[in-house]
């Protein structure tokens, strides 16, 4: 089952799936608006240091194809394929963003989601809607980030600027002359952003460790170009630009830190310059110093977490990724569906928790005290005896029962049989009486309990699985010209109780508008207050099969707002 994420939730990807070949789908939409959905591959400093890792409609994949954009499919507005174990080491974070193209604001978006699919199953879903946003023009939906291992965080953070501002925030436009120019867009773009670029946006959701700020103040003041290695383990030799590596307190110690010396010529202020993660970086004294390569990118936007990996250094133990594939210089063609698994080495035998009960846990019956309980899409349980009134169910639909339940033939009565035979709206029913629980299902059909409280619903008889005997039902006739049998019939249920409607496949529930039409063969149910009009269009079907008259009957529905129709993806 997919895990439902809320804004701010995060999880290890390994907890979601064992796979590393992931499909990420984003659905976002609003009437009349279009969105650009893109994926930023960021380095340890939250910067787009390599604009080949900005994957969007114009750049469909990263050099080693670990990040690919796939386009709209399967209900997703945009989708990506992410091969985690091929992502080069300098990419520490993938940020999935949606930006508005044209006018509009984020509060207009309808319900959307970001989901992760692996191994043929949806493993995570973060749903959002416009109520979470206001006037923003862009939103960071979710992040994959590397903190020992790859993790996923549902961010859901709005962003005032559009794509340009987002790019600037990530230092994208200036990627080429990054060392010198990176600070500029950083500070220049700041006012335009809703969240301060200092990482306020992501910080709360990532829980930046508060350990970082400590060394900063003592350090920012002197603004020495080359701080002596003496004070604190933190800042000293770290300066080397590309990694905003703040030695974690207690974690890496100075001996480990001095990576390549002096890559960009001048020594710089070390990473923890920002007073605190989550504040806009004020210009510290040392900021404007000439020859100071890239202080900005180094601020610990994400909270330099202990163990954060950095290029050039041994990956932390949790990383565990064999460096076989996917370095920028090596565009080696990846096999289209991930590495063939080939012969597994050492088949795990009996790993993990075992036992029948564990394996079947997710199929357990759900306990509730209600009369009708939906167990899963295809099964409902009815508790008889709570109020003593019997249930009528289609014959043969009982799959299991507990307790003392009697099943008896329910005849329609003489008049009922005549009507039933004549109209096709007859049901082979059984009456379930007694005390106990009865599980009802039929042929994997999807079941939908509909509770009526004095209102009425029309259901075609073959779509009724069961109903409370307390409901009144009658056969209703819909007249119209051009219907093969002269008229259409349907069952109308009325009163207080529950009807279980079954559909083949996932149905669609449409509100009744001035122009609502449905195929008479696919319609399952509609609220009885809506008026049905036959609008049969006699036309020859191109693939009319023998015996088929070639006509189709469309039903048009009219009614006050609040009425609905239910249509199944199957034509009987």
């Amino acid at each position: 089952m997919a895990r439902e994420f809320q804004r701010g939730h995060k999880a290890k990807i390994s907890d979601l799936t064992a796979g590393t070949d992931l499909y990420v789908g984003v659905q976002i939409g609003a009437p009349g608006l279009t969105f650009d959905i893109s994926c930023f591959g960021l380095d340890a400093n939250e910067q787009l240091s390599d604009d080949r890792y900005f994957v969007f409609f114009n750049q469909p994949k990263s050099p080693e194809e670990s990040i690919q954009i796939l386009g709209a499919q399967a209900g997703d507005t945009e989708s990506f394929r992410i091969t985690l174990d091929r992502i080069p080491q300098q990419i520490q974070k993938l940020s999935f963003t949606a930006t508005l193209d044209g006018a509009g604001q984020m509060s207009q978006v309808g319900p959307g989601y970001l989901r992760i699919v692996a191994g043929g199953e949806e493993v995570a879903r973060y749903a959002f809607d416009g109520s979470e946003f206001t006037t923003e023009r862009a939103v960071m939906l979710g992040d994959f980030y590397l903190k020992d291992v790859w993790r996923f965080a549902a961010v859901g953070q709005g962003f005032d600027g559009g794509l340009d501002a987002l790019l600037k925030n990530f230092g994208g436009e200036v990627a080429e002359e990054e060392p010198a120019a990176a600070p500029q867009p950083q500070s220049g773009g700041a006012p335009g952003f809703a969240p301060p670029p200092g990482g306020a946006a992501p910080a709360p959701s990532f829980g930046a460790p508060a350990a970082e700020p400590a060394p900063a103040p003592s350090f920012g003041a002197p603004a020495q170009p080359a701080p002596a290695p003496a004070p604190a383990p933190a800042p000293a030799p770290v300066a080397q630009p590309p990694h905003g590596f703040a030695p974690p307190p207690g974690g890496a110690t100075p001996p480990q830190a001095p990576a390549p010396p002096n890559v960009h010529g001048a020594p710089t202020i070390a990473a923890p310059l920002a007073p605190a993660p989550g504040q806009a970086p004020p210009m510290p004294p040392g900021y404007g110093q000439p020859g100071q390569p890239a202080p900005a990118p180094q601020q610990p936007q994400f909270g330099q977490v202990p163990g954060q990996t950095q290029p050039g250094q041994a990956p932390p133990p949790g990383y565990g990724q064999p460096p076989q594939a996917g370095f920028p210089g090596q565009p080696g063609a990846p096999s289209p569906y991930g590495q063939p698994q080939g012969v597994p080495q050492g088949v795990p035998q009996g790993g993990g928790p075992g036992g029948v009960a564990v394996a079947l846990q997710k199929y357990r019956e759900v306990p509730t005290g209600q009369r009708w309980t939906q167990q899963n899409e295809q099964l409902v349980r009815v508790d008889l005896g709570a109020d003593g009134s019997p249930v009528l169910a289609r014959q043969g639909s009982m799959v299991l029962y507990q307790g003392k339940v009697d099943f008896s033939y329910k005849g329609a009565g003489f008049a009922g049989r005549i009507v039933g035979n004549a109209t096709g709206q007859e049901m082979q029913l059984m009456r379930c009486t007694g005390r106990g629980q009865v599980f009802l299902a039929e042929n994997e059909a999807h079941l939908h309990p509909i509770e009526l409280q004095g209102d009425a619903i029309c259901v075609s008889a073959e779509n009724v699985l069961a109903y409370d005997e307390s409901l009144q039902h009658e056969v209703r006739r819909i007249e119209g010209h051009g219907i093969p049998g002269g008229a259409l019939f349907t069952m109308q249920f009325q009163g207080t109780g529950t009807v279980i409607v079954k559909t083949k496949g996932t149905p669609v529930v449409l509100p009744v508008t001035p122009t609502t039409f449905a195929d008479a063969n696919s319609i399952v149910a509609w609220s009885a207050a809506s008026q049905v009009i036959i609008s049969s269009q006699v036309r020859l079907r191109r693939q009319a099969f023998p015996g088929h008259s070639g006509e189709t009957v469309n039903l048009q529905f009219r009614g006050a707002p609040g009425n609905f129709i239910v249509v199944q993806p199957y034509e009987i």
Partner: protein, 225 residues
């Protein structure tokens, strides 16, 4: 082609794993043979061999075998094996020393190292048309079951309350449960009109019953000749 991303198999983490709802992925290794329903293989990678009429099955399940040959084949070798049964949901279980009785048509595969035996469900065979065979498996290893629709697991509870199951919807149960057939005949239903639920199986004791939301018990893997 990239549209198929997300459907690539996940790395092996266990002997049997679900790939989506209705496919099981089995990591095969020589020495760890597998019994699978004949005709259930949909794909395999590596070097896997199949033996359609394994003598072991003839010995253990001689009576289950009809003219069509054995319902089980033996797979052996190294590689990945993918099994499915016409889109039915697949449930994989690591038995870990426990035991389970599985309806013959709902059994997809199991480790050959398990103890297993076939028996005709007592009291019922004469009513249910095609005969209800169940396979009892126990020991250390994995079993894959199929279920038409998402199954439901019901605790039988204890005491005198019996749990009654439509034999066509039955998937598996704990072997320590007491089973008996029940004909729900009443005077009124004798006159040609049944409730449609004429025969049930009654379970009592401590254990679980697994039921599928469909009375379609046709053995699809068997229809092909």
């Amino acid at each position: 082609m990239n549209q198929l991303a997300g459907f690539a198999p996940t790395p092996v983490a266990a002997r049997m794993e679900n790939h989506g709802r209705s496919m099981v992925k089995i990591a095969m290794q020589s020495g760890q043979d597998l019994f699978a329903r004949t005709g259930s293989m949909v794909a395999y990678e590596g070097f896997v061999q199949y033996e359609p009429n394994p003598p072991a099955v003839r010995q253990i399940a001689g009576q289950w075998i009809t003219g069509e040959g054995t319902p089980l084949m033996k797979a052996s070798g190294d590689g990945m094996l993918y099994l499915a049964d016409y889109g039915a949901d697949v449930v994989v279980i690591n038995l870990n020393g426990e035991a389970l009785s599985v309806n013959g048509t709902n059994l997809l595969a199991f480790d050959a190292s398990l103890q297993w035996g076939v028996e005709r469900v007592k009291g019922l065979a004469k009513f249910a048309g095609q005969g209800l065979w169940n396979v009892k498996v126990s020991g250390q290893g994995w079993v894959a079951l199929t279920s038409r629709g998402a199954p439901i697991v019901v605790d039988c509870g204890s005491g005198e309350d019996e749990t009654y199951v439509d034999p066509d919807a039955l998937v598996a149960w704990s072997p320590n449960l007491k089973v008996k057939g029940k004909r729900s005949f009443k005077a009124s239903s004798m006159i040609g009109r049944g409730s449609g639920e004429a025969y049930q199986m009654a379970f009592s004791g401590q254990g679980i019953v697994v039921v599928q939301p469909s009375e379609d018990s046709t053995d699809r893997l068997r229809i092909r000749s």
